[in-house]
């Protein structure tokens, strides 16, 4: 990634918040996995969340589309508060795209069927139109020629790009990435990151849990460092990497930046 694109990617932020998390706590049984999380995400903001394993970073973004349930505090996404109301949850999930570490494509459906499933059944878009949208996004992640294949016939990098396209077909307002490159062979990481950088360039709101610090430097507006279920430090990438404040952040950075 050269410096020029990095600058080009970072645009001005608007002022309206799309995600507001206040005083949020979560326990797994007795284990206090998230402690007093306060986080406001602006529209078009791109946040990279990093931290040692078990620090609660995946759990945090999984709370945003209610794959995990929080016990205290509030999460408001696009003006809708996350409660036990199943209708609200489904509404929010339709607006929030999620990309998983292990892709989680539907192995019994072809690639294009994977992409049209949500639009047809949730958005009630006619099949033909949904397929056109699907092909548009497959083009975009450069995988259109694989449209009629099954996920099992694709490489890991290709599958993850399909997974990103599947989320995009729902025209989400926010995209969550849960370690999208961690399960990939090294030579496939770049093709997935390139797709994510393109997405950033188009102004998608993104929350990315990742250890790809190069990606954080070039794309993120803000880097969050989490440890023991707390947001320990947050800053612009420049400040975060060059001038970390907290001891735990320094230790973490010294371990991952060789």
């Amino acid at each position: 990634m050269n410096k020029k694109t990095a600058v080009a990617v970072k645009d001005k932020l608007s002022d309206d918040a799309i995600i507001e998390i206040t005083g949020m706590h979560k326990w797994f049984g007795e284990f206090h996995v998230l402690q007093d999380i306060n986080l406001t995400v602006q529209k078009k903001e791109r946040i990279v969340i990093c931290g040692p394993s078990g620090s609660g970073k995946s759990t945090l973004i999984r709370c945003i589309n209610r794959l995990e349930e929080h016990q205290r505090g509030s999460i408001v996404v696009d003006g809708i508060a996350l409660t036990n109301d199943i209708k609200n949850i489904e509404k929010i999930r339709a607006e929030v795209g999620m990309v998983f570490q292990h892709f989680n494509l539907f192995p019994h459906l072809t690639i294009v069927e994977n992409l049209t499933l949500g639009p047809i059944w949730v958005r009630k878009i006619p099949k033909k139109e949904a397929e056109e949208t699907a092909m548009y996004y497959l083009e975009k992640v450069q995988i259109a020629e694989q449209a009629q294949k099954f996920p099992g016939q694709l490489s890991g990098g290709q599958q993850q790009r399909v997974a990103i396209a599947r989320s995009l077909c729902m025209a989400p307002k926010v995209m969550l990435f849960d370690e999208p490159t961690s399960a990939l062979d090294p030579e496939m990481i770049k093709e997935v990151l390139d797709v994510m950088i393109d997405l950033a360039r188009e102004g998608m709101t993104m929350l990315v849990v990742t250890h790809e610090m190069g990606f954080a430097k070039s794309v993120a507006h803000r880097v969050l460092f989490m440890d023991y279920g707390q947001i320990v430090e947050q800053n612009t990438p420049e400040e975060f990497f060059d001038n970390p404040k907290h001891d735990r952040t320094k230790l973490f950075l010294s371990q991952i930046l060789h």
Partner: protein, 364 residues
């Protein structure tokens, strides 16, 4: 290594003669150790002892179309028992001059089953085809419209009864079993416990008991004068019984699904029913095709138990034929024929399931 080098090497180095071809196969599969060599020889000896006498009995010394008196003169099989009694074996007490009706119904059913084998034919029109087919079959069996004499269901028997109990038993038990499996996985305690109690109770009881209950105990609770058709009662008992077993098989498939599939479906905004119908069940049911088919095959054979509530399925009609002193001595031949019919039905299911598995294979 490039391709050119490869072909050159292939030409120079050939595998030794003893490891390829017929000789190689025999060596590798039949005589690859002293133990296997002994087994091979023993098997050959056994085949020598069994096959020629059987062929003699079944084909060479046998009679295919004769009276029972002629059969007494010979050593071999008297297959004549089958053509002589075929119509009673197949159709039981159905009025003799009307037996073309169940025959036609069976042909229709088999035709529909074969047509439905091809997944390309699975459209809504096929559903209508089945509905019309079922109505036609019902009318043929029952009659009561102009031109068709009414025939009471107490007179139904033989192959139509076996097929009726099996096909509808399995067709109804399968979806019911899936619903029970989903119910057992449910997070709602009431639904969950009802399903668990149902499944465990039914599985804890032999089918014979259920059939008895449905034919003897159940009518006691009905208001006076009200009766439920005995075939229907047996049918319901078979459906309830099979569904409980299918439910446990399907539950196994559901538990084999990774949480990632649920999460991916949910994060797209699909609701519970959509997630299950579009993502989870198609995969889970595919995984459990082999055990499901085992269950369905055993349910098909279990329909022969309806004999204990005085229904004449094909096994019972055959048995009745054999109570005729004229043919009493030829039970092996008659049962052989019935076995062949059961085998054909079961083999149809198992071969179809294997085909379905291949067609549904998507490489993951």
């Amino acid at each position: 290594m490039n391709d050119k080098n490869r072909t050159e090497l292939d030409n120079v180095v050939k595998p030794p003669v003893t490891s390829v071809g017929v000789l190689g196969w025999i060596r590798a599969n039949l005589f690859n150790s002293w133990f296997n060599s002994i087994l091979t020889l023993l098997t050959l000896l056994l085949m020598w002892k069994i096959i020629p006498p059987f062929v003699n009995w079944a084909f060479i010394d046998s009679l295919w179309y004769s009276s029972s008196a002629e059969c007494r003169e010979i050593e071999g099989a008297c297959w004549s028992v089958i053509p002589s009694n075929l119509r009673f074996m197949l159709f039981g007490f159905y009025p003799y001059d009307q037996q073309w009706r169940p025959f036609l119904a069976i042909i229709l059913l088999i035709g529909l089953l074969f047509y439905s084998r091809n997944r390309a034919h699975w459209k809504t029109s096929l559903l209508y085809g089945w509905l019309i087919g079922l109505v036609v079959m019902g009318l043929l069996m029952k009659g009561g419209i102009p031109g068709l004499k009414p025939v009471e269901s107490t007179q139904w028997g033989g192959l139509p009864l076996t097929l009726l109990l099996s096909v509808f038993g399995l067709a109804a038990a399968y979806p019911l079993g899936v619903i029970l499996a989903l119910g057992r996985q449910s997070e709602m305690p009431a639904i969950k416990s009802i399903c668990i109690i149902y499944i465990e109770m039914i599985r804890g009881v032999p089918l014979i008991t259920l059939l008895f209950m449905s034919s003897i105990v159940f009518p006691l609770f009905l208001p006076e004068g009200m009766t439920v058709n005995p075939i229907l009662r047996a049918q319901v008992a078979i459906i309830m019984f099979t569904a409980a077993y299918i439910a446990e098989v399907v539950r196994g498939g559901l538990q084999g699904m990774s949480t990632g599939q649920f999460e991916a479906a949910e994060s797209l905004g699909l609701n519970y029913y959509q997630t299950m119908r579009l993502v989870i069940l198609p995969q889970a049911l595919k995984i459990v095709i082999p055990p499901t088919v085992s269950q369905l095959i055993s349910a098909l054979k279990d329909t022969s138990l309806v004999v204990i509530i005085a229904l004449y399925d094909i096994l019972k009609t055959t048995q009745s034929t054999l109570s005729n002193p004229e043919w009493m001595a030829y039970s092996s031949e008659a049962y052989f024929f019935v076995a062949l019919i059961y085998f054909a039905c079961c083999y149809f299911m198992s071969s179809y399931s294997r085909r379905l598995e291949e067609e549904l294979d998507t490489g993951l």
